[in-house]
């Protein structure tokens, strides 16, 4: 079944508008309207980059292209131009859809046919009965070396979680999300709204949390999702008071107890749920008991065929919602030898519950942005007075974690007295921070630097990394 067929199946229900800032579109009207016009057929069988300024255009393009294009690559907002050649190469992009006249592919990418879509659907004859073929959906997620990773899904894998949580659609919900619909978390909500014929109110790209929540409250939003970092920002905006949701969802980062408690207090009549989901693994499970971590009883196989394995100390997930593969030459397999997706989220059991205790491989997540400790350490170690350094996460109530560093200094001949040594250490720390600010993105710069006498090194000669 294509996405359009899923929407059309709901035609018996009043086809709700997709609500967007000043641009409501009734999905039912797409039966004889299009943003691609009569040009859709030119994209049949091709690998199409959907690179739009507006989330709404991207969503409409997905509806039209599913079952027509061989592959759709959903370009995330703000993808750096320098990464485009890699994405185009890895996904073998040969067609481009944009909504801005200036949004054509840069000429250095070679000849890629470009189609400028209408911002809103225009009435036209659209033949949606043509033979459909399965379209591969490609999502971008931040990678380890700076460039994005291309994660391949199908419509079936992207919507697999709907079988797990069907009751969310009871009572005509109005969905909303802080996520952009071009990212996995937002796409889940978009597809859910399309599949179940509910209204959707996505956050605007340049909207403050206060403005967005005001708009959501006015629209009577009942179900709303975002990352813990989105929610912390929302709570600090003071604008949550207007909203009366039934269901509040956190995903994309580890939800700590403080944010769960704060949301419970802010929305006393709502179910506050945190879900474990990622672009690669899909939606694994949802926890609604108001506590961080998850009950030990969740490990095992669910009725919907989701296998949760904790036997190796990390969360491993095998499910119909798993992505199929990473695209690109030399890309690593997305699943391990036993067919599980393992993103290295380390677990620790306390009582009858599993708790997340950081990432193996040391990746630090600062408000949804990844930091590789080694990258920061390399910059710190470039200071002539630094012998070695260890960058690690530190729990933080605003961004989940922040980056901190411990440094061992070169034995200083300058350190003649304790007082001198302290002044020397302070000066070096200031200089290190200055260098970090010049050479690293703001979220990668350590919040704190501490000078230590030594760092633990393992028998294999590697720095011992223990996540905070």
């Amino acid at each position: 079944m294509t996405l359009w067929e899923a929407i059309a199946r709901r035609a018996a229900k009043p086809a709700g508008p997709w609500l967007d800032a000043g641009c409501p579109v009734a999905l039912g009207s797409l039966a004889n309207a299009s943003i691609l016009g009569g040009r859709l057929e030119t994209l049949r069988g091709r690998s199409v980059m959907v690179s739009t300024e507006h989330a709404l255009t991207a969503a409409l393009a997905l509806i039209e292209l599913d079952g027509v294009a061989r592959r759709m690559v959903l370009c995330t907002p703000g993808l750096a131009t320098e990464h485009l050649p890699q994405v185009v190469r890895d996904a073998q992009v040969d067609a481009w859809v944009t909504d801005a006249t200036g949004g054509a592919p840069p000429p250095e990418l070679g000849s890629i046919s470009c189609l400028v879509a209408h911002r809103v659907p225009q009435p036209c004859e659209v033949d949606r009965r043509s033979e459909a073929s399965a379209t591969e959906w490609v999502l971008l997620t931040s990678g380890t070396t700076g460039g994005p990773k291309l994660v391949a899904h199908t419509l079936a894998s992207l919507t697999a979680a709907f079988a797990q949580l069907p009751r969310l659609e009871q009572g005509a919900p109005i969905w909303s999300t802080f996520y952009d619909v071009r990212r996995y978390g937002g796409l889940q909500i978009l597809l859910r709204a399309l599949f179940f014929g509910s209204l959707l109110l996505p956050a605007g790209a340049d909207e403050s949390p206060g403005e967005f929540l005001g708009r959501a409250a006015a629209a009577g939003v009942t179900h709303i999702s975002g990352t813990p970092s989105h929610w912390r920002k929302a709570l600090m905006s003071g604008a949550t008071g207007q909203l009366r949701p039934d269901y509040v969802r956190l995903s994309g980062e580890i939800a700590d107890q403080a944010i769960l408690d704060a949301l419970r207090a802010a929305f006393p009549r709502a179910v506050v749920a945190h879900a474990f989901a990622s672009t690669e693994a899909g939606v694994a499970f949802e926890v609604q008991d108001g506590l961080t971590g998850f009950p030990a009883s969740l490990a095992g196989t669910s009725a919907e065929g989701v296998r949760i394995d904790v036997s190796r100390g990390t969360l491993r997930i095998q499910s119909p919602g798993n992505a199929s593969r990473y695209l690109g030459e030399g890309a690593p397999p997305i699943k391990d030898a036993e067919g599980f997706v393992d993103l290295g989220d380390r677990l620790e059991m306390r009582g009858e519950r599993w708790y997340f205790v950081g990432r193996s491989g040391g990746i630090i997540n600062v408000g949804g942005l990844k930091v590789h400790p080694e990258e920061v350490e390399a910059v710190i170690n470039s200071h002539p007075q630094v012998r070695m350094s260890l960058v690690k996460p530190r729990r933080n109530p605003i961004t989940g974690t922040v980056v901190t560093a411990e440094v061992v200094l070169v034995d200083g001949e300058t350190a003649e007295s304790a007082e001198n040594a302290e002044a020397h250490a302070k000066r070096v720390c200031r200089e290190i921070l200055q260098t970090c600010r010049e050479r690293l993105a703001a979220h990668k710069v350590p919040a704190l630097i501490r000078v230590v006498a030594a760092l633990e090194v393992s028998a294999s000669g590697k720095l011992v990394r223990r996540d905070a």
Partner: protein
């Protein structure tokens, strides 16, 4: 140094560092209008924990909305 002055100088230090234009710090100033972003607040909280030895967000019942709320969170924390 009082808790208030420690908090105030941390706001100023981080704003300088992050090259953000800090609004005058009055108790009624809404944090969203302070000129600081999430990362700046994260740095402020991390460094205040280092300076004062506690993180009141651990047990806070609600998130601060104004600068006054923010200072109050640190002043009222049982030490």
């Amino acid at each position: 140094m009082t808790v208030r002055s420690t908090v105030t100088s941390m706001f100023e230090e981080v704003a300088r560092e992050q090259q953000r234009r800090l609004a005058p710090l009055t108790d009624t100033l809404r944090l969203v209008e302070s000129g600081l972003d999430s990362l700046s607040f994260a740095l402020i909280v991390a460094r205040l924990e280092e300076a004062l030895g506690y993180d009141p967000f651990d047990t806070a019942a609600s998130f601060p909305v104004t600068f006054g709320d923010f200072v109050g969170l640190y002043e009222k924390y049982p030490r």
